[in-house]
Symmetry: C2
Subunit: 199 residues, 2 copies
DNA sequence: ATAATTTGCTAACGAACGTTAGTATGCTTA
DNA sequence: TAAGCATACTAACGTTCGTTAGCAAATTAT
């Protein structure tokens, strides 16, 4: 059967990818520290030692997930820089882009948000520097929007933390089969952030 | 020396409490699974086995922290039920009360928010039921505020998740020595939620 | 004064941990 | 057909894990 043959090839060519995928799901569910290599092997139907034909270490998986997600968040920012009307529009673009990255892989996002502290140096410092840089971009929009008289004069860092917490939390409840698209969720969150709940 | 004598007594009377406090700090810092009883003992300057003169198990500490925090969140809700003007005012009261509980112990809050999944049954189910109940109270305010024409007609669950994510995130950045009081933070968050960032 | 409680120790338990070494099999490529 | 690569195995390593048993000293309560 041709399809079967192709599937077999696909499976074999991507065994490492498969390991990372299952590991990501386990890290999301039980946490990095509480997930054992034997747990992971069990999900894949192999022995724990066999994993090491494909990966260097448990932490290598965590590193891959964390830095791949970081890359994706930065890459998605392109859409924000192309927005040239208002800062409100820029913020909406940022929200949509950010949420889009999260919804494309909620498991990896959960690991990115919750398990990064298990990175060892120098990865931990690199990670925190990137996060700082990223958060700075949000602060930038808020402050420029304030200077332009578009936004209320507020504590920009406080506002960034509030905004990002709302956006990031989507990883915890978004379901691809739900009625809301990723884009729609980003729009609604941006609307909430900009206009609030009051009528 | 009198003071020393009193300190000694205080220390001994509260050794269990002291263990829970240090454990909470470690769970916050490294996560529950990555914190060993030997880590904990080391912080207290004793042997790991000595901990078991005071506690039944590692998980017992987690249970205590999680359910004490849950109790406090529910207790703080009294203030919300006394508010009888608008639903916006009710929501502000809820935000202030919620943030107040978090800021009184950010370490315990972090454990409450991030480590509950390591609870075993039946504690895990109990915990999730309580959380569901609590979230329902926020949904209730939002929906009644919508019916009263006070709030925009929105997805109430979506809104609850967005609001609570902002409130909960304070555990991650609040510092008692900072310039904002707990009350002030609650007010600002409520204002953000109700009116948004737009001028 | 004595009993009870609190606090801590050493030694050790079985289990689980991440990982390595060495080997075997089958598929892909030259 | 041979070489190389992908995949997985068994066996085991040293380490760390949460926890128990049994004992000892000091403090507190009766």
């Amino acid at each position: 059967m041709l399809t079967f043959g192709l599937m077999e090839i696909a499976v074999k060519k991507n065994r490492k990818q498969q390991i990372e995928e299952k590991a990501t799901a386990l890290f999301q569910e039980k946490g990095y520290a509480a997930t054992s290599m034997r747990d992971l092997a069990n999900v894949l139907g192999i022995e724990a030692a066999s994993l090491y034909s494909h990966i260097k270490s448990k932490e290598e998986i965590l590193q891959k997930v964390c830095f791949r997600m970081a890359d994706e968040f930065f890459a998605a920012w392109q859409a924000v820089e192309m927005e040239n009307s208002s800062y409100a529009a820029k913020l909406e673009k940022a929200a949509i882009a950010h949420v889009k990255v999260i919804t494309l892989d909620t498991n990896a996002s959960a690991v990115f948000f919750n398990e990064w502290r298990h990175l060892s140096e120098p990865f931990l410092s690199d990670f925190l520097n990137m996060r700082n840089d990223y958060e700075g971009r949000f602060i930038d929009i808020i402050e420029k929007g304030m200077e332009a008289g578009e936004f209320k004069t507020v504590d920009s860092k406080f506002m960034m933390l509030t905004i990002l917490s709302s956006l990031n939390w989507t990883h915890n409840w978004y379901k691809p089969e739900g009625s809301l698209s990723s884009q729609e969720i980003g729009k609604r969150l941006a609307n909430m952030i900009l206009n609030g709940l009051n009528k």
